[in-house]
């Protein structure tokens, strides 16, 4: 499968940065209204609930929530309720339960965690409320516990980061990983994807340092400062999100390194990180596209219209490198 094969555009011509579904494998499992056992509703008048997991305080979450709200407005959905769990998992569970109680007919959830949704499924299945989970997958049965998942493949993102890193480092040297928050499955998958791929394609690259930066710029900077003291000969830094990588770049600058001395690869695709490529400090950024609104509602419309929808809708993530950073920066969020 090539970079640009089988792109089924989401809604007509993709606007800058719109999500694109990866591949429409005809044999992939699908789900229909009949299979799921729900009732047909008109989205325009339906009660729709969106549960956000983390505060809208970083570019990814802001873009994600905004995209859902914008698309709902565009489609004329007036009855949209949004909640935010402020990173409290139990709060997200009761937020969703409360929305089910209040009679929502479609749920879009950005889950904080992949496990722990038993009570929600019990409640939702009793009322046959279709659930679309976005950006993080829930470990349960699609088309039964929930309708479908739309999002990126985090392990794949890690893998692609490894490819870029290997390329930039010339397949040898020492690399450090700035881990995301511990216990988060984004962290887990982006780590395993990266490490497995490095081991496979560039066994001469050693992962010498793995410390958490909790997805925050400040901690990314602090950890990198320590790293540069204890491993002054480091060649590459893999940031599991852009924020930590930007923190790392600040640390590199104040340690007197020059742009390009240490290769920096990260995941997310925020404007700041893409700009860092332009400036020469970062090597590559793998995108994780947060604009779920159009795709989510398109899927819902198809579902309520009786059409089959995929059980696992993996979107195609862009990638920024020295070649395209300048031109594509407008697509970054």
């Amino acid at each position: 499968k090539s970079e640009d094969s089988g792109t089924t555009s989401a809604a007509g011509a993709p606007s800058a940065g719109a999500q694109v579904v990866q591949s429409a494998d005809p044999s992939a499992a699908t789900c229909t209204l009949e299979q799921y056992g729900g009732t047909k509703v008109d989205l325009k008048t339906a009660k729709v609930g969106f549960s956000q997991s983390e505060k809208e305080a970083n570019p990814f979450r802001i873009a994600e929530t905004q995209s859902i709200k914008d698309e709902a407005a565009k489609l004329g959905i007036t009855n949209l309720t949004t909640t935010n769990a402020n990173s409290q998992f139990n709060k997200q569970i009761s937020d969703v339960e409360q929305m089910i109680d209040s009679g929502v007919q479609l749920l879009v959830i950005a889950p904080l965690n992949s496990d722990g949704w038993d009570s929600v499924f019990a409640k939702a299945s009793a009322k046959k409320v279709p659930i679309i989970t976005i950006d993080r997958k829930i470990n349960a049965t699609p088309c039964k516990d929930y309708l479908t998942f739309i999002g990126s493949d985090f392990a794949e993102q890690g893998k692609r980061a490894a490819d870029e890193m290997a390329k930039a480092m010339g397949n040898k040297g020492k690399v450090a990983i700035l881990l995301g928050s511990p216990g988060n499955n984004v962290t887990t998958l982006r780590t395993s994807g990266f490490k497995d791929q490095i081991a496979k394609i560039a066994p001469d690259i050693q992962v010498v340092f793995e410390q958490t930066g909790n997805f925050s710029r400040e901690e990314g900077q602090k950890v990198t400062e320590q790293l540069l003291q204890s491993n002054p000969d480091i060649n590459g830094i893999y940031g599991e999100n852009d924020e930590m990588a930007l923190g790392a770049i600040t640390a590199l600058k104040s340690a007197g390194k020059k742009a390009g001395d240490v290769k920096v690869v990260s995941i997310d695709g925020t404007k700041g990180a893409v700009q860092a490529i332009v400036d020469g400090w970062a090597t590559a950024v793998i995108e994780s596209n947060p604009r779920f609104g159009p795709l989510a509602f398109e899927t819902a419309t198809k579902f309520f219209g009786g059409e089959p929808v995929g059980q696992d809708i993996i979107i195609q993530d862009r990638q920024y490198g020295t070649d395209n950073a300048k031109t594509d920066i407008s697509a970054a969020y």
């Binding site: 505060k55 809208e56 305080a57 970083n58 570019p59 979450r61 802001i62 511990p182 010498v208 340092f209 793995e210 410390q211 958490t212 925050s216 710029r217 400040e218 900077q221 602090k222 950890v223 400062e225 320590q226 790293l227 540069l228 003291q229 204890s230 002054p232 924020e243 930007l246 923190g247 600040t250 104040s254 340690a255 700041g272």
Partner: protein, 322 residues
């Protein structure tokens, strides 16, 4: 004075150690850790490493100083992290009017939060932990609202100088922290305010009856603590070179309280150890640095921190004779 009742002291070494440890235990622990690192951590004994450790500990020291004062009045301030966030939120908004204006606004935000805390504690009579809990919850929310959830890159070189510049070969950040330590130390030692603060913490009804302006002292203490926190907040912004209200100063209240208590200031008030607080912050910084440099996992780091806190506080605890 009853000099004759003073027992002829049999100079037992164990007893001397017992008296010595609570006072100087933290310093001893720092020395031990440094010695360990010199032998077992590569590149530890370098100037640039010392520099990084001092830079990283500076904001915590500044916040911990304010916390120590609040704890000296038998209070506690959970809102310091939110104050840092508020300061961070205001910086980019006012940097257009110049560095001084931005700093002033950030400090004013601190004054405002401190006044609210102080009034809630001194006038309304709330218990400090609850009074400051409200702003702990709401303050950061407000900061993120003000910054519209956006992380803003800071490019003003004058402002960034505060976070990454050097003066006489020593980071400006470290100079500022040292200055704060000196000021707070001086205030506690030599000023009317310092002594009143200790009296209020030692026995508030007595201080009231003795005619001390107890409420004013309390409000001032919370304002000072919040202003110190906002200084730490703006320095953090200058250091990270960006303002992110949602993450700056997260959980710093616990680090600050730990530094204060590990440094030998009792939570029961009436006593403030300024240098001990600095040492407490430094000790915790060294522990974390050691863990990171040896690439240990978060679980190990956390458990080791727990044990070190317990040992440090055990050694430094107030010995009651009964």
């Amino acid at each position: 004075m009853s000099t004759e009742t003073v027992a002829a002291r049999p100079v037992v070494d164990a007893a001397r150690l017992k008296a010595w440890l609570p006072k100087y235990g933290v310093y001893a622990a720092i020395v031990l850790l440094v010695v360990y690192n010199i032998f077992f951590t590569p590149y530890f004994a370098t100037w640039s490493n010392l520099r990084i450790q001092l830079i990283q500990v500076a904001p915590i020291v500044i916040v911990a100083l304010g916390m120590a004062l609040v704890i000296g009045t038998e209070g506690i301030d959970l809102s310091v992290g939110s104050v840092m966030a508020l300061a961070a939120a205001f910086i980019p908004l006012y940097l257009g009017y110049g560095v001084v204006a931005a700093i002033l606004v950030a400090l004013l935000a601190g004054v405002a939060v401190g006044l609210i805390n102080g009034v809630l504690v001194a006038k309304v009579g709330l218990q400090p932990i609850v009074a400051t809990l409200a702003l702990f919850v709401g303050g950061r929310g407000l900061a993120v609202v003000i910054s519209e959830g956006k992380l803003v890159d800071i490019r003003n070189p004058d402002f960034l100088y505060l976070g990454s510049g050097d003066l006489l070969g020593i980071p400006v950040l470290v100079w500022i922290a040292a200055l704060m330590v000196l000021i707070v130390g001086f205030v506690m030692r030599r000023t009317v305010f310092g002594r009143r603060l200790l009296a209020v913490g030692g026995n508030r009804p007595a201080a009231e009856l003795a005619g001390l302006p107890v409420k004013r002292v309390l409000i001032t203490v919370y304002v000072v603590c919040a202003v110190l926190a906002s200084i730490a907040g703006l320095l953090s912004v200058a250091r990270i070179q960006s303002s992110d209200a949602s993450s700056v100063g997260l959980l710093i209240e616990l680090s600050a309280i730990t530094a204060v208590v590990v440094g030998g200031t009792p939570l029961t008030g009436g006593k403030v150890r300024v240098l001990g607080t600095v040492a407490g912050a430094l000790l915790m910084q060294l522990v974390i640095a050691t863990m990171i440099k040896h690439n240990l996992q978060p679980s190990t780091t956390e458990m080791v921190q727990a044990v070190i806190i317990l040992i440090a506080v055990y050694v430094a605890r107030e010995r009651k004779t009964r």
